[in-house]
Symmetry: D2
Subunit: 401 residues, 4 copies
């Protein structure tokens, strides 16, 4: 979680991923990687890079002071670099950040934070998928009332519902996987020409490539200071994740209403309580995941809005509007993915309640068919559809173990 | 354009793509395709399918009446199907829509409209990319002032700027292409089990596959009534397109300001005029594309919000919230892509003005370098970066001819 | 409804309010009012104003052609004025639009459409408030289970719930009323100085005031070409209306689920049906109002985004981004307000079902109290709160009759 | 600033307003006020209230732990109250929070934070208005080129531009003032009936009124757990503030471009620098305020979205989605208002540059008039409009001193 966590319950699940310490850590990692890249292409002496790496490894940054100092330059990189140069001292100091612009460092650092967050999301999505696959398999024949536009429709199975949730999780996995394996380094210098790097080495693009290699990122062929598709793509994978988890949470919250009571969140001591009503057990994880799903779309839109306003060689406000939205979206999705993994792992299903309701409502549920009969006999391709989604799950290699 | 076009200048470029006539056409195409699919698997007689196809081909729908009737059922499919059955008459009438639910028809029809729109967008993006590639090549050595955060930075070339625009267009192309070649049919029946189809044929999934084949769509293995990633993915490709075009338009609008005057939109008789000032020539296409880029992100967010609220087997309002946003986003992007293609094809560049300004500002533009000299000598990897993006363009096969 | 109504079920309720005919009508009204204002201050001869009014009264505009022509100037006013001048002919033609800029005409016309729409919304909110007040009074003692975070909480009354809905409707009324009675005319000329008007009359501001008087709008003391608070304030009142109606619809949709079945929408022949399931009765109005409430916030945000980007004396794209969002938000809210009025007027309440459930759940509902007892004895200030809200309703003069 | 400030440059200006310490402080203030209110109506003994106040005054809360514990109940109030009760001990402990629900405490605490933030915003808006009024007065006759849709239009004065900025600031002031003087306490108990309070005192509404009085808030007549107009209204005033400031910032950023250079931000040592280009002076405050204006609309939309989903007696996720957006919007607007106050106070205007450009472009600027002449002679009602806005400023009592 970022440090002010009281209004984001569960954000401790994202602890250390995107807070200011993590950001400074990533920025220092970026600055060191850049010097190593310059050393690799012969543009600075290796000892300078080593010296900076040594200093960075133990350097203590006053985050409050750094945040205050960020305003003067409009971003945190300028004061951070100044401080780092002072801490390094001597001739190595001059090499620090040489050839980069603030945006190179900050964009790359945010990509590193994004990668860490996406890896966590992917892991939790995989766990969720595994739990949902097990539910789909187990409840393949658990008949329940299908509901559309709030009213009874035709019978379904809980296995099919779980399989549909699984399909959503897999769709999200595909996007996250595609993004996390193709994250770009930012490297362009003051206006995206690598001009100053060109003063240090005859092949500045080689330095950019080496930079990417140091950080296990890709070099996309050119700087992307004003071409923010890499950022909106990260955002899109995160929002899609929250969408899929939001659907699960909405269904669980609904089905665990006392009048329906077909599923409920697993019991965890102390969870779900009220400040005034003893014995109350709210579906807290579902509520919080639903809440995340209500927030993510606007954060994703914020990234697009910034992207569409990226004027000049580096923009005059749009870039700055990206940062808090990206951070918040990362934190929110890491948190929601973790909560959803726990929710689906512990979900309690009541097949008897499902069957009882479905049988009570048989007349309505079979009205379409036009024949009286048993709800079990009007499940269509439910089991076949479960199979198809389970096959996709297995083929995806998403599950654990 | 939809019929009320006065507040969407340029929307006539999207004429016929997403208006009510197009929608009804797509819905009828869907209903006919479904019957042909049922016939293909032996679930209805071919003659019934043919009869419905014949009637649908000439059936005149009263759109105003149909729109009014849509409220009672919450969507247009119910009254359309009722009307179609009446028009068909006889035993074939009963086969119409048999086994489908409204959402199957409407989702599939909207996917068909989306495909038409995406194909147009792809074509115009390709044209834009071609124009930008030509500009990047031609102006590879056209030096100009680089600008960051509104102020002079280091020198760049206009070729590099055009190449960066091109990179954005190519990113958008990649997304549009990925989406347009993997568009799913919707087919699930009342609650996504294909139960009623199962009364007609022993293998209802085979009918769904045949349905997809009829429309040259894919069968995604299961219905996606509450799993809206297919829709948000369409949306994301469109918003990403508007983002990329918005950046071009923002740059052109800026650079064509009279105090800068380094580019201007091509002259078209009667365009850019004012209602009061003779001789004024506003950069109208840029203004309109910028406007689109300010709108698309919220439309994309609307699709995600709806996706995240898709509860039950079919949702209670979220689905309905998708439709106008998707239609509007399609119309907006088709329009903007066409305008951008024209804008980039006709863009007038003034290399002399660029050079003059860059030379006047040499001291500032070379401040980073710390040496006096010529702006042409501090272009870093500009030309190399242009090459990289042009190579990507050629490899993508995006350009025409 | 605008003409493409198939994806906005119920939008025929807003017929004629904001479509292109209504817009052209408003634009012509504006142009005529301007000439009358100029005549009133002696800047044109009255006969010219009369001549233009006569022509405008019967002039037939080709809307498709006009929409196409709108692109060249970036808005519809330029070609409309050109056409009107041609239709008028003679010396009066030159007076048409003299001194105005496109934005003066279009902003004022959109304000006129907004007024019409807001008046309809206010009327339907009043009807809704009246129905809710009656429900609150009637069901003051109708005990039911209170629900929080989906679970049973303590007992409430349906009267209190209806009163809370009423409070939301009254909050919306207050905003709508404040907005509708203070709508400004736009009048500034090419760059907001009234310079050309100053060539026609020594006191151009007097002309602006007369213009406002002609249209029963206010003159806000200065043009507001780049100060869009008047527009965002309209938007805010509309979104707040949809928020309040959305809460009602969400509760109704929930409480009319078959497992709860404590309320249901009134029966209307043919409404709520399914394309495949006979006998199904979906809560269609609730679904559609919920859908509106999911859409309005982003449309309101669009207006703010445009407002925040209004650069120069008149902006380069932000203004254009306002139009479709404002129109759509007006149509959506007029529709939703009408649907909500009908929904609340016809709402069927089942007090017996409410009581039965509350008594079954007595133990849970009284857990907070810690004493066994009757749910009726633990209603706290429910009745007093109902009174307070009903008193506010009566004091507001909102109700009819 | 909240503690993670590196991605929100300038947020230290909002230090202490909305961070977790401030929130806990407000929550404790709320709990103490509630006990004092209960004491005032004779429902608890005064000594208990005093005891709790004493403990709360010095109680140290482990914020990290509290944030973690917030997840189990879905909000921070439950663990905070538990901890406070333990810290208080004895019979007074049982009185803590008695009769309230979590939402009563949290909503009221957020209203208190909002008040603090709004008061700061109001103060900075007043300072900004004062600076703008001075600029409008001083530059009443400073002629400059008017620009519309990026191109030269007719002449304006910088005084008129400043006056238009002022009109926007005054519009925002009006909204902020209306909101800050009518902020409601939240008080309803578990499901909005004040039932438990009714066990403590025969007139629970009197306790709610006393609660409001203790905190100098208003009692709105009923709880508003699911009627969020109070929150969206706060949001709307903040977004409108950012809109108005964003327009100023966009104009300043544009006019301080080197090719235009008609205004520039005041010189502050160390501000506006680049990480690589010595001597660069970016318009940092404008850039950051612009960035805020790009963010605020979506945060406001988030509040509306949550409002529209507030189902049941207390909602299942929508409420939770409000918190981070409200906090962020408060922080963002406090920061932007402070930055704008500094920006406008220090703005440097270059009347000579303005005049020079206007005279160079005389032919274009007078094209509408159709007569050759001096730009000074075609300023229409500029001075009169400045007067009208200055009069409004003076009448509003907004200015300082």
């Amino acid at each position: 979680m970022t440090h002010d966590g009281l209004l984001s319950p569960g954000a401790h699940r994202a602890a250390g991923t995107v807070d200011d310490e993590a950001l400074v850590g990533a920025l220092l990692r970026v600055e060191v990687a850049w010097l190593r890249a310059l050393a690799a292409v012969g543009a600075v002496v290796r000892a300078h890079a080593d010296r900076v790496a040594d200093v960075a490894a133990t350097w203590q940054v006053d985050l409050v002071r750094l945040a205050e100092d960020s305003e003067a330059a409009g971003n945190a990189v300028v004061p951070l670099v100044r401080g780092l140069r002072e801490a390094v001292g001597g001739p190595a100091a001059e090499a620090v950040h040489r050839g980069l612009t603030s945006q190179d460092a900050l964009d790359t650092a945010l990509v590193l934070l994004s990668r860490d967050a996406l890896v966590r999301v992917r892991e939790d999505l995989a766990a969720t998928a595994g739990s949902l696959a097990a539910l789909a398999e187990k409840h393949r024949d658990t008949v329940m009332a299908g509901r559309t536009l709030t009213q009874y429709a035709v019978p379904v199975t809980f296995g099919l519902k779980a399989a549909r949730w699984l399909a959503g999780a897999l769709d999200a996995c595909v996007q996250v996987e595609a993004v996390v394996t193709d994250l770009p380094v930012q490297c362009g210098g003051a206006a995206g020409t690598l001009a100053l790097v060109g003063e240090l080495t005859p092949d500045p693009v080689a330095a950019a490539r080496a930079f990417a290699d140091e950080l296990a990122l890709t070099w996309p062929g050119a700087p992307w200071h004003t071409n923010r598709a890499a950022i909106t793509r990260i955002g899109s994978s995160l929002v899609t994740t929250c969408d899929a988890l939001g659907v699960i949470a909405a269904d669980v919250a609904l089905l665990s209403r006392p009048e329906i009571a077909e599923v409920r969140e697993g019991v965890v001591a102390g969870r779900g309580g009220s400040s005034t009503m003893p014995g109350k057990r709210n579906p807290v994880l579902s509520v919080l995941v639903r809440s995340a799903a209500l927030q993510a779309p606007l954060l994703g839109a914020q990234l697009h809005l910034a992207a569409a306003q990226a004027v000049d060689e580096r923009p005059d406000g749009a870039w700055h509007a990206e940062w808090p939205a990206l951070r918040r979206l990362l934190e929110l999705t890491v948190t929601a993915a973790s909560q959803a993994a726990e929710l689906t792992a512990g979900l309690e299903v009541d097949p008897a309640a499902m069957r009882e309701r479905a049988e009570e409502a048989t007349d309505v549920l079979l009205a379409e068919r036009g024949d009286p009969g048993r709800v079990d006999d009007y499940l269509g391709a439910s089991s076949q559809l479960v199979d198809a989604i389970l096959a996709r799950f297995r083929d995806s290699g998403t599950g654990r173990g």
